[in-house]
């Protein structure tokens, strides 16, 4: 009996290479022309090891420098620290090497397989048909070494996507090309995309930003985030250096020692000081905005290729994202209160894929409407126009929301009037009137429209945001009524949009039902599986 089992194992053991060899023979027969389509497991680029080692080192460098600073008097401890540093580098390199050695990827006939893990092995197989797209990302360090991180988007959502960290640029491009070819073979033998695939790299440029545009954009991206970062850093220093930064006594002492000096300047000089401070804030805020914008959107190019939209951007971290046209679920056309006065808008695509952690894809972050409209049309949507049948929210909703917002502050005035001197109660009362009036006024800017293929929703007084959804690409329609809405006869229409939210509040109930019936008829007319391609 034991012999039999042994034979079985032997047979299966010898069977594995045989079938693998057979599969390989088949595959090579089928794809004799394609050099990339080998079935052999391949490793990622070895130079990637250096990148990951440096990356790991970067994380340890800050504590090490601080440690070195703390022990600068004691030579022995410093020597120990140097030894520790070497040990950390050695261990990092060792682990990175083992990991590299144990990570292989195979581009098979039907799927891509990645096997990884030093001790516990993980094998993952993703069928080509399920790969929505392959995106390449280059952070600063890999870019210096000519490496890319290849991401396979399967629609499973950011974290679950398959990644291959650090292939050479040419390998990454080849892999992307191979997977697209394979997917087309798998999925759509009927449509002849082979010819289109050739011309894909030279797409039509829909939108790009030069450095002048970036400069203007950067000025509008005014941000004081740098102060938050500085505050955080100070706290970090605080714990290391041992100066009690938040100790009031320290500052009080310092101000007292300087106050004679300050007051000697007189009133005018103090005002000048305040003005100078505000100007400094403006400069720092604008500079932060400029730097961030230049880093993120450097050489921003949006192209329309045969495969879909292709967007490249970034100074140090260069990203290259391709989104098939059919995956665009909806559009968000937004702006800021100040840039709106100058006619600047931003366009985003709503889809199930994520863009650098953000929900929507920026496709034209800073553009005039006449630049945005062609992009909207290229995505298969129609831009909103005044000729549409625009409707407003219910007047009862207008009154109720103004009453609720104003009422909140009016209620707040009561305890203020009781516990503080009477004039102070005027502040919340003033706010109450202001918010009620703002709500009443903003009502006329909140509107929605239904066209033959699309739903439009617009809101916002100072910086209007317009959402455009395709009627057939919605998944459910819901009418929601809260306790007040039930009595007052209005409702919120909530649309089931993949990858985003789209709700139109305050519709008269009859209008909500009319919209729902119309949208549902569009949805039911086409099955989900017909949407994808």
């Amino acid at each position: 009996m034991t012999d039999e089992v042994g034979k079985d194992i032997q047979a299966s053991a010898s069977g594995v290479p045989r079938t693998a060899a057979a599969a390989k023979a088949n595959a090579t027969k089928a794809d004799a022309a394609k050099a990339d389509a080998t079935d052999e497991p391949r490793r990622t680029a070895p130079i990637g090891l250096v990148v990951s080692a440096i990356g790991a080192l970067r994380q340890t460098i800050v504590p090490l420098v601080i440690g070195g600073f703390a022990f600068r008097e004691e030579l022995g401890a410093l020597g120990g620290l140097a030894f520790l540093l070497l040990a950390i580098i050695a261990v990092n390199m060792g682990v990175a090497y083992l990991r590299w050695l144990r990570l292989t990827y195979t581009t098979g006939a039907e799927d891509i397989r990645v096997e990884s893990g030093i001790v516990s092995r993980a094998a993952r197989s993703v069928p080509y048909e399920r790969i929505q797209d392959v995106s390449l990302e280059q952070k600063l360090l890999p870019r210096l070494f000519g490496l890319v991180e290849v991401k396979f988007e399967t629609g499973a959502g950011g974290a679950d996507d398959l990644k291959l960290a650090y292939l050479t640029e040419s390998e990454g491009e080849a892999l992307r090309h191979l997977i697209r070819e394979r997917r087309d073979e798998e999925a759509a033998k009927t449509t002849d995309l082979a010819g289109e695939a050739e011309i894909e790299e030279s797409g039509e440029v829909l939108f790009s930003m030069d450095s002048r545009r970036l400069f203007t954009f950067g000025l509008f991206e005014f941000s004081l985030a740098v102060f938050a970062v500085l505050g955080g850093l100070l706290q970090y220093v605080d714990t290391i250096v041992g100066i009690e930064l938040w100790d009031p006594d320290l500052w009080q002492g310092w101000i007292e020692s300087q106050s004679g000096w300050l007051s000697s300047f007189g009133f005018v000089a103090q005002i000048a000081g305040v003005v100078a401070g505000v100007i400094a804030l403006l400069i720092v805020g604008s500079a932060t905005g400029l730097v961030r914008t230049f880093l993120r959107d450097w050489e921003f190019v949006l192209e329309k290729t045969a495969r879909g939209f292709r967007r490249r951007r970034g100074m140090f971290t260069r990203t290259d994202v391709v989104m098939p046209v059919h995956r665009v679920q909806a559009l968000v056309l937004g702006t800021g209160w100040l840039r709106y006065r100058f006619g600047w808008h931003g366009l985003k695509f709503v889809s199930l894929a994520q863009d650098a952690g953000a929900q929507n894809h920026d496709v034209a972050p800073f553009a005039q409407l006449e630049e945005i409209n062609p992009i909207v049309r290229a995505a298969g949507f129609e831009p909103p126009s005044e000729s549409l049948d625009w409707h407003h929210a219910s007047r009862k909703y207008r009154f109720d929301s103004a009453a609720i917002e104003g009422g909140f502050f009016a209620l707040a005035a009561i305890p203020v009037a009781i516990f503080a001197p009477l004039p102070f109660a005027l502040i919340p009362l003033g706010l109450a009137i202001f918010f009620a009036a703002a709500n009443l006024y903003a009502w006329q800017f909140h509107r929605h429209a239904l066209s033959a293929n699309q739903v439009f929703g617009r809101k916002g007084l100072l910086s209007p945001t317009t959402r455009i959804a395709s009627r057939v690409k919605l998944h459910s329609v819901e009418i929601v009524q809260g306790p007040i809405a039930q009595r007052r006869g209005y409702a919120t229409l909530a649309l089931g949009l993949a990858g985003g939210a789209f709700a139109i509040p305050g519709l008269p109930l009859a209008r909500a039902r009319e919209l729902r019936a119309a949208i549902l008829d569009s949805i039911a007319a086409r099955d989900f599986s017909e949407l994808a391609r």
């Binding site: 459910s476 929601v480 989900f528 599986s529």
Partner: protein, 179 residues
Amino acid sequence: MDENTDAAPPAADPAAVQTPVVETHGDDQALTELHPNYKSALRVEATLASIPFLIGAFVLEVQAILPPAVIMAPVALLALAFIIRLPSRRFYARGYAMSTDRLRVVRGLLFRHDTVVPFGRVQHIDVNQGPIDRFFGIATLTLHTAGSHNASVNLSGLGEQLARDMREEIRSHIKREAL
């Protein structure tokens, strides 16, 4: 909904219940009432939920901090309303309408939700039964869609067999993706 209160209650015998398909769709369509046992299930759930409050009130009562029955009486009254009145109102506020190509689910007393899911957008379907549901022979049908809002639409209180029939019925409408 009140208009449903005077409608004839569906038969309690699960074998007699057929998948009710409404031919028309619209907002004036009649909603199908849920399984009568669902009211009892809601009542059992309400009872279980109010037990901790009753125990708490009883403990405070025993401590005799306040005059007798000052705590226990209102809590007991609230619990009675919660167990007797509320499940019945919640039951009549719920309903569904299944037409040839879509399912409409209505629920909620305070916040009314009226959701319609076309079968063509259903990704997958669940039929779930908790222990209370199993005792009463009812089940929850859940439709999953790809939308972020209403990613899953629950329809509780269907007869067990009916829920399974509805699942089969809806599944037959979902076209298989080309493999």
